[in-house]
Amino acid sequence: MSDHPFNEHIPALRRYAIALLRDRSLADDLVQDTLERGLNKLSFFKTGSNLRAWLFTIMHNLFVNQLPQSKRWQHQSIEESDTGSNDFADEMLTTRDFMQALQALSDDHRATILLIGLEQLTYEQAAKVLNLPVGTVMSRLARARERLSLLMNGDAGPQLRRVK
């Protein structure tokens, strides 16, 4: 038997789930639920439409409706880092700051940025996944990116240390 058509999409579903939840075991549970739901709902899949976007839609709905709030990323306030010395690798700190900034975003903002920036869905596909008009997705994307940028630069609400 050749590969199941879902299989080629599983790595991307995992990537998205891990980025969204920052917890591998929760992420794999979410992917598993998504695949099982997808198999059960296969008859609803419209031939010729995009399987990848369809699977992401299932995953998003599971994420929004089923995952207990307590299991999602905790929105952490960002603390001032204590390192004033220069004996560290700037790039790695930038990476960590970025992860913390991503963590500080709301679920809606993070999901939007991840679907478009990481998973490279078109705006129309992202709108379908999020069940929103395209215009709303665009404005949310713009706000989310600006927010992330401010968090990275330490200009917004909870302070991030400026790295460079």
Partner: protein, 253 residues
């Protein structure tokens, strides 16, 4: 396009590469004259690069058995999918690593954690017969066992692109709070590297990535969540940093 303004949608679409080449060229001409907007665009593009750098490694991982099993155990009809195939597209391409970081200073410090890690490195990398307690052939047992003893989930980083294969690991005494775990890696020519993990010392915040010289051993160390990590053994700082980056990612998710 109106050359005197740029809409927010155009900015986003440019960042995501959704514009035609002509349209992109117009946007670029506009950006060249509007440095403030250009700065925003560049920071958004950097966000996309960071996302790929952080998470693309997941794509290359073998699937957990339970996920592979979901689609394997259900039968499906190929015929059903033939038409559907038409609509598929595959997002491809792993972006390269973002990190070309440099460690700017090497400092001589005596840090209990780094010291313990360096000592464990020296003691066990010299061991010919019993370098590890549990071999990499029992990878999942090894990781689960050490994770249970440390009380924290662990993931062994894949350092094969640097030429290092996991040999195995062992349990060691750690700080006053208990145990430490050591994973050992080796190249085909027998060069060894260890990853030492223990529960964070009291009072240690989230520290920077530091490099220390412990009697000639290069120790790259950092702390995250409740754990302290040290990577020891490679004399090339740049490579050690890159491996620390991979380790940091593997442990973070």
């Amino acid at each position: 396009m109106n050359t005197s303004t740029l809409s927010e949608s155009e900015i986003q679409a440019y960042v995501d590469g959704h514009l035609s080449p002509e349209h992109s060229a117009q946007v670029e001409a506009y950006l060249a004259e509007h440095p403030d907007i250009d700065k925003r665009v560049k920071s958004y593009q950097e966000q996309n690069r960071m996302l790929h750098g952080l998470f693309d490694h997941v794509l290359a991982e073998p699937l957990p058995d339970k996920l592979a099993a979901v689609t394997a155990r259900k039968s499906w009809h190929k015929r059903y999918w033939v038409a559907a195939m038409m609509g598929w597209f595959i997002i491809g391409g792993l972006t390269g690593y973002l990190w070309r970081g440099e460690v700017t200073h090497t400092v001589m410090v005596s840090v209990p954690f780094a010291e313990r890690a360096a000592i464990a490195h020296v003691v066990y990398t010299a061991e010919m017969l019993h370098p590890v307690e549990v071999g990499a052939d029992q990878d999942s047992h090894l990781v689960q066992w050490l994770a249970r003893r440390l009380g924290h989930p662990l993931h062994t980083p894949d350092l094969s692109k640097f030429g290092y294969q996991l040999m195995g690991g062992r349990l060691l005494p750690g700080n006053s709070k208990g145990v430490a775990a050591q994973f050992m890696y080796q190249t085909t020519v027998g060069r060894r590297l260890t990853l030492y993990i223990s529960v964070k010392d009291k009072g240690t915040g989230q520290t920077a990535f530091r490099i220390a010289d412990q009697d000639g051993q290069q120790v790259m160390y950092w702390a995250e969540d409740n754990l302290s990590f040290a990577l020891i053994g490679e004399t090339d700082h740049q490579r050690l940093l890159e491996m620390a980056q991979v380790t940091y990612q593997a442990m973070s998710f």
